[in-house]
Amino acid sequence: MVKAANISVRVQREDFDVAVEQKRITNGRRDIGAVVSFVGLCRDEQGTLAALELEHYPGMAQSELQRIGQNCTRRWPIQELSIVHRFGKFVPGDNIVLVIAASPHRQAAFDAASFVMDFLKTNAPFWKRQHLTNGENGSWVSAKIEDDQAADRW
């Protein structure tokens, strides 16, 4: 029997270090068999994107990620779940989001990380605004229908 999962959620401006975050989860543990880490980065959109700005709803961003985490750990035997989402300004290559799921077996860890990302995309109150390399600033990224479909599959 897997004991109740520890869920850690952070919404922060600062960068994160995947190795440090993963070590925090596995350190001193002998019961974890699988760790899946997902990192979402700012991409350059074939050279057209100079920067992204991420706005968030303080308070709700934290509580909504926590809710998504709880829904996840109710479904899979997850031992540790860590979600870190950054806000502020990003250039291509920067880390934006981190999800780490630890479980005795791999499938639950893969599924849990995927589930958290799918619901984070559609339900966590963050909004991206693009700054383009041609000098155009300020267009908001539109939500994608594929993201809704990805969340619906669960």
């Binding site: 709803y57 909504e64 934006i96 966590a124 909004w127 991206k128 939500a143």
Partner: protein, 83 residues
């Protein structure tokens, strides 16, 4: 009641937040959106396609028919694009 706005909803309305008193006949989310739309040009622009606007009551996602009578903070924002 406090209203807070995010992303392009905030930009079109022109303010981050405001405190309002609602008329008695505005009791749910969809009535609130309809009422807000008539408050001026910025509101009309922000709420032109009010079916895409997402609403949170006291920091939890809400649906069109949900009651706002006991809400302390209502947020209006576009579909989310985090991750």
């Amino acid at each position: 009641m406090k209203l807070v706005y995010f992303a392009w909803v905030r930009e079109r309305i022109g303010i981050d937040e405001e405190t309002i008193s609602l008329p008695d006949n505005v009791t749910n989310v969809s009535q609130l959106l309809t009422w807000l739309k008539d408050r001026g040009e910025g509101y009309a622009a922000a709420l032109e396609h009010s079916d895409v606007i997402r609403v949170a009551i006291d920091q939890e996602h809400a649906d069109a028919g949900d009651s706002i009578v006991h809400a302390r903070e209502i947020a209006l924002f576009p579909p989310m694009t985090g991750g």
